[in-house]
Symmetry: C2
Subunit: 117 residues, 2 copies
Amino acid sequence: MSINEKGNRKHSCECVGAVATLPDEELMFELADFFKLFGDSTRIRILTALDRTELCVCEISELLSMTKSAVSHQLKLLRQSNLVKCERRGKHIYYALADSHVRDIIEKALEHIAEEN
Amino acid sequence: MSINEKGNRKHSCECVGAVATLPDEELMFELADFFKLFGDSTRIRILTALDRTELCVCEISELLSMTKSAVSHQLKLLRQSNLVKCERRGKHIYYALADSHVRDIIEKALEHIAEEN
DNA sequence: AGAACAGTTGAACGGTTGTTCAACTGTTCA
DNA sequence: TGAACAGTTGAACAACCGTTCAACTGTTCT
């Protein structure tokens, strides 16, 4: 039995359970990065607000009682991940959800949370 | 027009857009906390591995090439959030997905990622 | 042109969080 | 009983990340 550099035996587990394999590692990192975007209360509040109607940055910042800067930083992340799209109209830049998956995913999560109680 | 303590005008935004309201704040924090669990590559790898079959801790740690301690810490979080359940059988403690929402949510996320390309 | 508002950006600070390490509990087997 | 393996736990450290701040760009209006 091989010994690694830390002195722990490798394959110390004697169980002969299913030789499970892991899905594509690269995809797992993409998945985690995707979910990270939903894992912040500022971003999730932005997304649920946009789920109802398109909004400009200053409307969002008033709605969340946050500075435009903080909101803008988060919007940038959401934009880069194609979760929201934006369009300038005059002085304002209006943000909207980019596709319907956001809606679906939040829906499923709410179902799970609802069942907890 | 009121001025706040930072010297920034409140309601400086002149736009008379939809007076959007935000969903229950408390729920937003729960949602973010829920998604945080999926937003880590170790945890998402554990969840997708368990999606295929139940596994004991040492099998998971070999599968991910991580220490049992690191895996155990993450399993604790998943357990506390009712995403996985566990059962001791002899020396081993077997972990499995707690419900089918996990499957659904990951499915939706994969659809979104797939459409990016 | 210049004032005022809308929005973005990069650096910096502070809090959060994942892994490591060491010590611990629980189970099996000789 | 005690050795060996399976798994958990808390503290500590390092890396990550969200907000703040100040300076910047872009648009409108006089």
